[in-house]
Amino acid sequence: MLNYIIRRMLYAIPILIGVNLITFTLFFVVNTPDDMARMQLGIKRVTPEAIEKWKHERGYDKPLMFNDSEEGAAKFTRTIFFEKSAAMFVFDFGRADDGRDIAHEIKARMLPSLAIALPVFLLGLIVYITFALVMAFFRATYVDFWGVVLCVALMSISSLFYIIGGQFLISKLWHLVPISGYGGGLDAGKFLVLPVIIGVISGAGANTRWYRTIFLEEMGKDYVRTARAKGLPESIVLFRHVLRNAMIPILTGAVVVIPLLFLGSLIAESFFGIPGLGSYTIDAINSQDFAVVRAMVFLGSLLYIIGLILTDISYTLVDPRIRLE
């Protein structure tokens, strides 16, 4: 297994370089270093000298990918792409365009992101599996029928609607929790209730339907028929046999997102005023801060790769037939 993990980690390097290259290209197709300088320095009274100075201080005065004025390897290394990308592989994210330390920001914002994402993930998993099991148990009955209808309806609604609707009903009309905001320590609880409830509900349609399909597929297998033929109660069949065997596809979907929980949610964090990494990324995109965008895309790719490796490992834990070689 160790060899497999090392091999996968090595595969990750070209993937990360590729992702970084794509991010770099897309970003600089839209924004030139001059645009970035203007965005930071403001629109009024910005002189060309100030722009050149800003670029020079941040190393944006070099060619993007190929430096014709250098010799040998320096033609590639004395470029914006190389200088900005190489450091990230040792997790040196550098400074944002406004001069603030990116690693410090990431550390500070990771916890608020997790404070929403983790409860949504765990609670969501419990709720979706429970509902899916109920629907599977009552398959072909009115519970199943209306459950599917409800799931389709929930799936069809935009997540933004859940946020605005939830804020309107629960906070504005019923005055039960604050509309937005964030507090440290125990104080965070009252701010997290609403985003967590909305996070769980907004994912309920798609996930419950998916898990239901998995359970139904599993319930059609021979071993389930055998279990029933043995006269086992349906609850034992479901919880002891079906659920355990349905864990592989559930794990595929669930474990891969665990590392991404750190990155938070772009929309929910903005609407609920949660100072997490999702909100940080949106701010960086809006302010054309390439340093932060690059760091966040790199981190996202890395965490996704880690998620995939964890998924592979988790297979071996839930299915003894699988070996990582």
């Binding site: 839209v30 924004n31 030139t32 203007r38 930071q40 320095l41 403001g42 629109i43 009024k44 009274r45 910005v46 002189t47 060309p48 000298e49 100030a50 100075k53 406004d98 001069g99 603030r100 330390d101 410090h104 914002r109 148990f137 009552f138 009955t141 519970v143 605005i164 804020q167 309107f168 009903l169 906070s171 504005k172 019923w174 005055h175 039960l176 929790v177 604050p178 509309i179 937005s180 905001g181 964030y182 507090g183 125990l186 104080d187 009252k190 701010f191 209730v193 033929a229 006269g231 109660p233 349906e234 609850s235 903005s270 609407f271 609920f272 005023g273 100072p275 909100s279 701010d283 054309q288």
Partner: protein, 737 residues
Amino acid sequence: MKALFKYLLAPLVALLSACSGNPWNNPYPAADAGKNILYSAFAERPKHLDPVQSYSSNEILLTAQIYEPPLQYHYLKRPYMLIPATVAKMPVAQYFGKNGAQLPDDVDATQIAYTIYEISIKPGIRYQPHPAFARNEQGQFLYHDLTAGDLTEVYKLADLPHTGTRELTAEDYVFEIKRLAHPRLHSPILGLMSDYIVGLKEYSATLKAAAEAQDGQQGSDAYLDLNSHPLEGAQVVDAHTYRIKIKGKYPQFMYWLAMPFFAPIPWEAERFYTQKGLAEKNITLDWYPVGTGPYMLTENDPNRVMILDKNPNFHGEAYPSEGMPKDEQAGLLADAGKPMPFIDRVIFSRDKESIPRWNKFLQGYYDASGIGSDSFDQAVQLTGQGEATVTEAMKAQGIRLETEVATSTYYMGFNMLDPVVGGLSKPARKLRQAISIAVDYEEYVSIFANGRGIPAQGPIAPGIFGHRDGREGVNPVVYDWLHDRPQRKPIATAKALLAEAGYPNGMDAKTGAPLVLYFDVTARGADDKSSLDWMRKQFQKLNIQLVVRSTDYNRFQDKIRKGNAQIFEWGWNADYPDPENFLILLSGAERKVDNDGQNSANYDNPEYNRLFERMKNMEDSPERQKIIDHMIDILRHDSPWLWGYHPKDYGLYHAWYGNVKPNKLSNNNIKYYRIDGSLREQKRREWNEPVLWPAVLGLLALVASLVPAIIAYRRREQGTGTRQASPAAQEPGAGNA
């Protein structure tokens, strides 16, 4: 049911309401209830709080409360008027000729070689408590030689427990002027001030050389001692007096002295913040300001909250005793002479989205709010006389509306370098005049700005010297004066002008081809489609086809810089209340193409340029007004812009928010405001009673929906058992049946 409520809802309730009596949806700690705190929101985190770099309105909202430039605007009086802030008396410009001899005040500007402003500050003003000033018993600075070990447990400024203070001196003001040229800082006004402050340009080069020499020895972040490099244009006379030397005559310089760019910075702060290891922890002057103003920044988490607390060392200032005639009636002079500031703490919470911001305002958790287009109808209604007022629902909550015409202008510009719409030729001018009549800005303001604006008659915003109201202020190219009000000329006049321009009925008289014009705009969403369609319709009145060229903001700016746009929209917020700040936008010397200035239309009329050069150095006087009138006439005749409109700012304020008079130029307003914390608390409780029945009903519905499922489940389980126990099932061969 009671048990169900107790076990399911009660823990939630306990979690939500940390303390009884506090509304459940209160985003603030219960301990703050009723306190003298102002609650406000911000959407975008400030980039810079260092006064030498900060130039955005969201930044100045904070810096203006912390830093004290020598001058400030009178809070109540209009037109806007400068008064002392930290100075003992208003500085007076002294003019000198080439031979160094002092000239009389009324001398012709061309004879003035330089101007000196001698500024005397009041003694006894002290800085806010700050670690940069902390000293030990031997009088040595405690935190000026921090090692990596000292910083191990330091994550924010408050982690350095000792603070100190000292008296404000003239040297601190000079130090800040020198910082404009600091090679590691990016002051947006360095270029402009280098043209005026004697020696600043050379000083910038000197500091750059000094920094480069220092970089090699001590690293690029080392402290650059500005005190060891004198600047001719800013010199200390004595502990409380300094002198600024300006090239020629520049009366607008006084306005700059009311901006944070000219606020004092103590050298100790600069020395403290440039220590190694602090910047890595985001402990910089750009993050933690040091000032003498009424407030100090005590918490800076711009991702969540920024808190200003009353500066215990504030020198004190009395609320103004004079204002405009209506101010007394409006209760704005009730606090006359009382010491400011009135509010103890200001909490700015970050709310990026307008919907939560608006709802929190309605719940009483923000004390004031702007009005977005989404909530306009909910908040504002027009009276029979066309006057804006709050709706009945707002009135019932005690919310009031304050309006003020902004010192801004939104205009549509023609690129004067364009071969079709540009140039000073007669046909091009008539084409622009025709379009000026056709584009109905009264309708635009009514539809797209909810009436929040005044159609402009020229570039100068109301409230600024040079702007004329009424009949004498009307643009005769676009309007007729009928029934005591300006009336847009009929479209037939525009069509006639278009024909004279060589495009009868929108067709090129020479080629017969339809006239197609290009409107460059920044990339817009679906929401803006209607305004672009409206604009096409306006041009269609003249049978001109308008092609919208949408692009992102960067490309748009690039087009403007290179002169590739044909027609575009832009806006301008005044830096100071002087006509020069608006008329410079059409000065030939400020052309965007070639000169990279502020004149985006690249308008260049020699007569206008000549008058501008004369007008800009004049004091406000009838003679200056006459020149401005002439300049405006030239502009209206040439029509390089469609004058667009001057936006009107609407603000909503709760009943407990007092002493509010919108002031678009003065930013240090928080010290004047007053909050009635107990009224706010009472209203918050009244407006935010928790509504529990939907939650109870939801639980009941859930239980009710589960009952049949549980019954069915039990029946099925029992059915399984029954089948298991049935004798038929146990008969041989029964399983194969």
